[in-house]
Amino acid sequence: MAEAVAHTISVNGQLEPLDGAGSVGDLLDRMSLREKRIAVERNGEIVPRSVFDQTALAPGDRLEIVIAVGGG
């Protein structure tokens, strides 16, 4: 169990394997999201687009990846 947790991160509330993703940029590439109009928060802090590739991921990180949707 500890082993599983050690290699996962939470993305939009869902546990995802790190699977070698070293940075936020790696993860976005894997999810085909890099070219989308998104914004990313890591552990409660905004990750600016300009530093996606420099922002390292660590086990246990909590990521939020958001888009704009219809709303009032």
């Binding site: 905004i46 958001v66 888009i67 704009a68 009032g72």
Partner: protein, 268 residues
């Protein structure tokens, strides 16, 4: 300014230093399709349109277009909201994400809810969030109760528009307390925009006749039988109400008629 503003506006709505020709602000939720959303927005003549910020589906979108893909680039001023947030912290986080998503765009609609049934604003949390956002450089348009004192506090904090509800979000009940809106208008030096509760075009006209500087609505258009047609109706309603307000209505004479035709020269 962009191309649409080449001509000087005769009666602009100025929000946070930015002039707009249309006084109708519309939401983008609850439409049957993105195509219908785009057509209704077009028919409304609105320049400011609200969007919500939500988690992206992790399963991917199969290349399906998203909201931002169907809105003509540069045509609208997007107004991201913090709808669905119940704490100041969540609202601030959401709007910071929105600013990042929209490349530094700092005009936002702050909304902190207090109750899922009424969607009534939680004013203490709203004030807290407004303070943080303004300190952080945002231009805050704020959804609030129709309490004149709360409105005054929000304005003194630096909110760029005060947006009291006319009635509950999505209720279509119209302006329940025009007198409170009137008190808020009497004090305010920033635009007062009625946000939530509009049901039909006459509600929008009434808001504008009261002296409101604009009207924000979503469901009244999206849930009309013909949303595109209702969007056009709202456009006219807002213009009619604004013109009537500027024209100055006649005095009311409840107990005495006043003939419009000459009372002399009748045939004998």
């Amino acid at each position: 300014m962009n191309a649409p503003f080449e001509k000087a506006l005769t009666d602009p709505l100025v929000i946070g230093g930015q002039p707009f020709a249309s006084r109708l602000l519309v939401g983008t939720g609850k439409y049957r399709s993105l195509d219908e959303t785009a057509r209704a927005l077009d028919a409304s003549g609105a320049e400011i349109v609200t969007v919500a910020i939500r988690r992206t589906p992790l399963a991917g979108t199969n290349g399906e277009p998203g909201l931002l893909d169907v809105l003509p680039a540069g045509r609208y001023t997007l107004l991201p909201n913090s709808a669905g947030c119940y704490t100041a912290d969540d609202a601030v986080r959401t709007l910071r994400l929105a600013r990042e998503l929209l490349d530094g765009h700092d005009l936002v609609k702050l909304e902190v809810l207090g109750d899922p049934k009424s969607l009534y604003p939680n004013m203490p949390e709203t004030l807290r969030a407004a303070e943080t956002l303004i300190r952080d450089g945002f231009r805050v348009m704020v959804y609030c109760s129709d309490d004149p004192i709360q409105a005054r506090v929000l304005e003194s904090m630096g909110c760029v528009a005060i947006m009291p509800l006319a009635s509950l979000i999505g209720s279509g009940m119209g302006i329940l307390n025009p007198w409170n809106i009137g008190i808020i208008l009497g004090d305010a030096r920033v635009p007062v925009i009625v946000d939530a509760g509009i049901g039909t075009a006459s509600d929008a006209a009434v808001a504008m006749e009261l002296g409101c500087h604009g009207v924000l609505m979503n469901t009244a258009i999206a849930h009309a039988r013909d949303p595109v047609r209702m969007a056009a109706a709202m456009r006219h309603g807002v213009i009619a109400g604004r013109e009537a307000f500027l024209a100055g209505r006649m005095e009311k004479l409840p107990y005495r008629a006043a003939a419009s035709s000459p009372q002399t020269g009748l045939i004998q």
